[in-house]
Symmetry: C2
Subunit: 345 residues, 2 copies
């Protein structure tokens, strides 16, 4: 039957092209270009954006150490992240859950309790849900719509190759939390009688299991009349986010290593786990921070009105050149894990 | 670690409650009610609806006999179906594809060519795509937004327990196509040298592999000034759709067996495969027809202006009583496969 098609010898692994290049190539077929969200409805009073994520068990989460309630909460925030990053307000969400026979009503209710907590916190009234079967484990797809008055869209500045790169918070902690949980899982698997040692790791575990979305900056933008030119939700490390912004706007970027906020606790745990905290910040995942792109002309105002934002670098006109500047002034090419690995991120 | 949670003895299978009851219960936690789409944005000039489907390999499609291009095309139409059924126009789509290592760039391009063909046909300009990894096979999540001028929403009549149930086309053919393909797959697995016998089955195979969405009725509604009170995209058999409408609006329904349109070819193949064509129409899947709910007062106009619509029955005030009326006048309770089976549909 369809097997005959597979005799075609041309089989290119995704890694060979890279995920982002493949996305661009496919999107161009439909006249679309690279984006992390979808903007639509600009002919009305409001403009809309949608964010859509697909989370698959074994790839995006491990139920051995992720409580279902936490997973539900985190999934919703993961869907809202790109909306908030684009300066829109989440308004509605549609959730599809694929379940294998392993899951019972109580499990679904536990997952839903976390989802409902997040929806309550964000005052989301338009909600839909569907359940379907899955052969292998849990699959969660979330699609959320966000709104903005059209006048803000009109005022939004165009990205310039001098724009500032600003971060909503520290990086690398979630990745360290994940590494710690992975370590305990290995120990648990080798001897289930061993009790996990999780005391004293609250900060990194919370960062991974119970991340919060920093929406306060979005509110401060409103009061201080600063409108970012773009924003990207960091869920795959800082390097990936910077490269995404550069690819999208055809710019380069310089990120200053000593400006990247990393918590001292993250450094401590990194040392304990024999890992590098800076790599965790650049290439780890699940940080739930936002990288805002803000016009250089707002530099003074930013420092005065929104000192919580860390200015970590700026865009440049050297398209595609994304540099990490070390304290001694050397420039190292930023490497994004997800990109080189193709779809495996 | 999280294992401790599983010591709770209360483990209720989804079948015990039923999918639709569980959906209602979960949605009520967030103040939402049962729906197949999500309506939002009603404060602007336009109102919006979103449709969101998750398709998992091995459950929703079998790549042994489903060409990737057909799968892509059909997936998009499956996402547009509920939007068209609600009398909205699809405007945008966001697609997430989860891929295991089995899939190469050429496969993704093949899948995308079908997706792009559908998007081109429906003139969709707002498109987004993301790729991620999957442990086991292909997962496709599609989220689409549809638009309607607010004035139509305002004019939309409320569902009444006398409303007519109207179908856009014949049922059961897609299910017969699927059964034929399953038969050939079994033969092929037992002896790969056997060539599939698919000649003479074009109608049912097309119905399954290359379904079309009947959007012409939606256009006729516009010209004839008939506005349906509701509509549901039938993707899980007529019985499921009728029961869904009744549950949503707290009504009953009568469907007249001899009014259900089934193609003579579907009857022939059903006989050949030792199956029942009526069961295929009531409980088979993938028909891609729409069941419209239309005020009784439009009966004459409907017959005159949109004779293509088959009036197959009507709603009643006997909440939850969904009856199939046989030609001799007997009433049989409609059974929906998906409902009794919980999530396995």
């Amino acid at each position: 039957m369809a097997k005959a098609q597979n005799s075609d010898p041309k089989r290119t692994p995704v890694e060979e092209i890279g995920k982002i290049n493949l996305l661009e190539r496919l999107l161009s077929v439909t006249g679309a270009s690279l984006n992390d969200t979808l903007r639509y409805g600009e002919e009305g009073e409001f403009c809309w954006i949608s964010s859509h994520i697909l989370l698959l068990e074994g790839i995006d989460f491990d139920l051995i150490y992720t409580p279902l309630k936490h997973l539900g909460y985190k999934s919703v925030l993961g869907a809202f992240g790109p909306i908030v990053a684009h300066n829109y307000t989440p308004e509605s969400i549609s959730i599809n859950i694929g379940l294998s026979k392993r899951f019972f009503v109580e499990d679904i209710e536990e997952l839903w309790s976390g989802i409902a907590a997040a929806l309550d916190e964000y005052k989301i009234k338009s909600v839909n849900l569907n359940l379907s079967s899955s052969l292998t484990g849990l699959a969660i797809s979330l699609s959320s719509e966000g709104k903005q008055p059209k006048e803000i869209l009109v005022q939004t500045p165009k990205v310039q190759p001098t724009d500032l790169l600003c971060l909503t918070g520290n990086l690398g902690a979630a990745y360290m939390g994940l590494q710690l949980l992975e370590r305990e899982k290995v120990l648990f698997n080798s001897n289930p009688a061993i009790q996990p040692k999780l005391d004293g790791y609250k900060f990194i575990l919370q960062s991974y299991l119970n991340p919060q979305l920093n929406t306060s900056i979005k509110d401060l933008f409103e009061t201080s009349k600063i409108i970012p030119s773009d924003g990207v939700f960091i869920n795959n490390g800082l390097a990936d986010a910077v490269k995404f912004i550069c690819k999208k706007h055809n710019t380069g970027a310089k990120v200053f290593l000593d400006k990247i906020p990393i918590a001292s606790h993250t450094f401590e745990i990194a040392e304990e786990l024999n890992m590098d905290a800076i790599t965790a910040a650049l290439n780890g995942g699940d940080d739930f921070q936002i990288l805002y792109v803000i016009p250089l002309s707002k530099y003074e105002e930013l420092n005065k009105e929104i000192p919580q934002l860390d200015i970590i670098g700026h865009l440049t006109s050297n398209s595609g050149e994304t540099l990490l500047i070390t304290p001694d002034g050397a420039g190292i090419n930023l490497k994004a894990q997800g990109w080189s690995e193709g779809v495996s991120d």
